[in-house]
Each structure stands twice: as C-alpha cells, then as structure tokens.
C-alpha cells in the first residue's frame, strides 16, 4: 500500500494530477446542483407571489 502511494518517489506529481482532476469534477457537479436548487426556489417564490395576486 505504501509503495502504491509513493509511486516510486513521484507521489507529489502523480497525486497532484489525480487530486486536481477529482476536485474539479466533483466541484462542477456540486455547483450544478446548487444552481438548479437556486433557480427552482426562485421560480417557486415568483410563482407563489403571482398566484397570490390572482387570488386577491
């Protein structure tokens, strides 16, 4: 296991690359989910406001 993590002494280079890849891909998914939630809650709020006006 330690041998695998050491990558023949090049651990810094190898794991920097895979770490950056994993962080970027995960961050994009998180950002996209957050964006969807933000849009849905804003549109939901707008719609409730509009529906309330119609009922008055």
């Amino acid at each position: 296991m330690m041998e695998f993590l050491a990558q023949g002494g090049y651990a810094f280079y190898v794991w920097s690359c895979y770490g950056m890849g994993a962080v970027l891909l995960a961050a994009e998914i998180v950002a996209l989910r957050k964006r969807r939630r933000t849009i849905l809650s804003r549109l939901g709020r707008l719609k409730r406001m509009r529906d309330a006006e119609v009922n008055e």
Partner: protein
C-alpha cells in the same frame, strides 16, 4: 422520421429526457472511471522505455490524455451545436452549445495542469512554448472568450448568435493542436511532445487511457444535461409546462 427528431428539439420534451438520462451517465462515468484507473495503476509496468525511461510519473498519462482529447472534442461539439443553431435557428441547439462549453474549459485546464505536472519530472520544466502546449493554451483562452462573450451580452438570443460565430471561427485551433507534434524540422521548432501512435502503446496503458476517456465522455453528457436543464428553466420561465415543473419540483 423528421417529426420524430424535432420532437426532442423542443425544450419542454428535452428537459424531461435529459433529467431521466443524467443519473445513468453519471453512474456509467463513475464505474468506467474506477475500472480504467484500477487498470492503469495495477496492470501496467512501473517504468517504460530503455536508456531514458519514463518512471512512475508516466501514469499521469491517463488523466492527461483523456482530458486533452475531451478538450478538443468538446470544442468541436460546441462549434457543431453553434453551427446547427445558426443554420436551423433552433433554441435548444444554442442552449446545448453554452452548456457544453464550461465542461470543455474544465478539461482544457485539467489537460494543461496535468501536462505541467508531467513536464516537470519528465522534461525538467513546468512549462515551455512547445507548439502543442501553446496551441492548447490558446484553446483554453477560446473557451474563456466564448463564455465571457456570451455572458457579456444581455439579450440571450443575440448572445447565442455572437458567441456561436466566435466558436466556429475558433475551430481553426483544433487541427493545429492535433498536428502540432508533427514538427518537420527540430531545429525550426523544438517540439517537446513526442510523436505517438496507437499501435506503439502497450495494450494495458491504451485500455486505461480509452477507459478514462469514455468515463470523461459520459461525465460530459451528465454535466451538460444538468446545465441545459437549468438554462431551459431560466429561459422558458413563463410557459405553462415550467409552471407545472415548479409545482412539482420547487422546494416549499
């Protein structure tokens, strides 16, 4: 047949189709990514070559080549959707173009980053103005320029058309990147990138590279579908079908 295809070109239909497909693409990306990386790390030799071997750091190849391929391929996809949008004036085509571009920019950055971290142990430098490095950097600026131009224009349809034109003109960089390693005279242009061909690569390494490329490809489907769904909701806010979606999916 014609009617069948244009059926999915309607944002209301595509919104639901993309929503159903996204989890499948994400799952496929995860599974193939894990298999490809397992193969790349455990079924390959630790060192390559003879007198001046590539040591363990060559394992960066899997993420590096896969992201570099995706950076070029996704740019072609952006330009293709832009061209389809300009020719047929279909709203969804433009939305797809702008949905794919951020993921393409991400992979371009990742290709440059991993290239840098491979270049340091292998060539002794983080960066050099080698033809391929330089043209890939230009591609990154094109992605950024495309996204910046699109967001700088308030009217969505004008932004779509202007950015589409930029994407199509920028397409000229893709063949330049592709052939930039074929430096005819090493004295004229010092290319650090070696020539490579599919037939020279060890089968296990090739399997890892192609596997991770497939995983990135599925990931790109998933993220562009997720993004296009948000864009559809923003642009079609005042339609009856979006009102139904809000009733069903919006948090109270």
């Amino acid at each position: 047949m014609k009617r069948h295809w244009f059926h999915f070109a309607a944002p209301s239909t595509f919104y639901h189709l993309a929503g159903r497909l996204t989890p499948w693409f994400l799952g496929l990306a995860l599974v193939t990514g894990v298999v490809a990386l397992y193969w790349g790390f455990f079924e390959t030799p630790d060192r390559l070559g003879g007198s001046n071997p590539q040591k363990e750091y060559y394992r960066i190849i899997f993420v590096h080549v896969a992201s570099a391929w995706m950076s070029m391929w996704l740019y072609i996809v952006v330009a293709a959707w832009s061209a389809i949008g300009l020719v047929f004036n279909t709203r969804l085509s433009y939305m797809m173009a702008i949905s794919v571009a951020p993921t393409g920019a991400l992979f371009t950055f990742l290709a440059l980053f991993t290239g840098s971290f491979w270049g340091k142990p292998s060539w002794g430098t983080w960066w050099d103005w080698d033809p391929r490095l330089t043209s890939e950097l230009v591609l990154f600026f094109l992605y950024v320029g495309y996204l910046a131009l699109h967001s700088a224009i308030d009217d969505a349809r004008r932004a779509d058309r202007a950015a589409a034109l930029l994407a199509i003109v920028g397409l000229v960089t893709v063949p330049i990147i592709f052939w930039s390693i074929n430096c005819p005279d090493p004295n004229q242009c010092a290319a650090l990138h070696q020539r490579s061909s599919m037939s020279d690569i060890d089968g296990n390494i090739l399997f890892g590279m192609l596997g991770l490329t497939f995983a990135f490809w599925m990931y790109s489907f998933a993220t562009s579908f997720m993004r296009v769904r948000s864009i559809i909701l923003e642009r079609e806010t005042d339609t009856a079908w979006v009102a139904e979606v809000i009733d069903r999916e919006a948090p109270r």
